[in-house]
């Protein structure tokens, strides 16, 4: 199993039946592929839809139905559409149960930077600031390191997405939870040691006596 699949499978276990979930473009989108049996959730798309699903077959595209990345999608029975104010009212008003987002950096306090590298990458924040500030639970889905450098830092150096801490961080090595006392190491990926995790992590981790393996 590759690292990204580990992340997606582990995050899928966080989703509860009947909840509203927003998956970011890229790796977070793949979480939908690993929903446990018996769990069905409503996927929201920021462009104004609850009930997105993959396009059933090529040739069935509707020119008016796309995801927030502009790709043509399908919709489940019972889906509904609305304008952008309503869509972000769901997000900002705390009606969105879970958002899964990527990270450039995330730190010991659970603060996330995922929208800009000043001078290098200025794509705009899109819905990221609203999602991190407003969703009930924010789950970060990220590879633990980039080009050999830890993405789990003592303190973010890039501009923050929000001052609201994320709820959970899932990487191909570990599950970590920001707490009042610091960043708690909750689970190890299958076969990964605590030492490996600590070596790949710039942030200080609180390491309990027993760190269980992810059950994926």
């Amino acid at each position: 199993m590759d690292g990204k699949e580990i992340i997606a499978r582990r995050i899928a276990l966080e989703l509860k039946n009947g909840t509203l979930v927003n998956l970011g473009i890229g790796l977070p989108t793949t979480v939908a592929n690993y929903l446990p049996v018996g769990i069905e959730v409503f996927f929201q798309s920021e462009n104004g839809l609850i009930g997105m699903e993959p396009l059933p077959l090529p040739g069935m595209e509707d020119e008016y139905l796309a995801d927030a990345g502009g790709a043509f999608i399908g919709a489940v029975p019972g889906a509904c559409c609305f304008d952008s104010c309503f869509c972000f009212g769901l997000i900002r008003g705390g009606h969105l149960d879970v958002t899964v987002l990527g990270a450039l950096q995330v730190d010991e306090q659970g603060l996330l930077a995922n929208w800009t590298i000043p001078g290098k990458m200025v794509p705009g924040m899109g819905g990221a600031m609203d999602l991190v500030t407003g969703a009930k639970r924010v789950i970060v889905s990220t590879l633990h390191t980039a080009k050999g450098n830890s993405k789990i830092l003592k303190k973010c150096t890039l501009p923050l997405t929000s001052i609201r801490p994320v709820s959970l961080i899932v990487t191909e090595l570990a599950v970590m939870e920001p707490t009042a006392a610091g960043l708690l190491l909750k689970e190890r990926a299958p076969g990964v040691t605590v030492e490996t995790i600590l070596a790949a992590t710039e942030a200080s981790l609180i390491v309990p006596a027993h760190v269980p393996e992810m059950q994926i």
Partner: protein, 225 residues
Amino acid sequence: MSINLKKIIRLAEAVERIPGGASLLIGGFLGIGSPHRLIGELVRQGRRNLTVIANDTARPGLGIGRLIDAKAVKRLIVSHIGTNPETQRQMIAGETEVTLCPQGTLAERIRAGGYGLGGVLTATGVGTVLAATARQIEIEGKMFLLELPLAADFALIAAHRADYLGNLDYALTARNFNPIMAMAGVVVIAEAAEIVPVGVIPPDEVVTPCILVDYLVAREQVNGR
């Protein structure tokens, strides 16, 4: 999409979840589009000391007026009570505390409560007696009142149709405050004139998405069945 059957609930059970002293957002405009079954059951179960946020109290015997008749309401936030002499009597007698709020401001305050906004900046009420009740904020040389968000423990919603998932639509002027309130209740209980299979309400016609609805009241018996 799986159907959450736990969401479908009998009328009495729905109202049993609402404790005395609770705050309620109640849809409707002079009784049109009010959740008449939920209101009737609140009266039947003798609920008291309620805080009610609504457009109005209709008239005695109608809509929210039935809660007023039953002396179930301790505190009221509404835009007008002119159609209900009993509400006026209770206000003057000090039995019910009434806060009056311009209709547009009331709607926006409820919306702000449901949308996570810090408040509403409105020109309505500036320079009037209302100005004493709100912060004033000057923005680019113009004065606005900062009106605070409203939310409540429960939102009681009257829909036209609900599908099995709890997606709702509304008919004509019975829409009014219902969709706004469905965003602002911690627990949202909806009744509907019709309950229809999923897909009968197309995606573009759903006004209140099912994920906002915590409980949908099962229909009454029809034709003895």
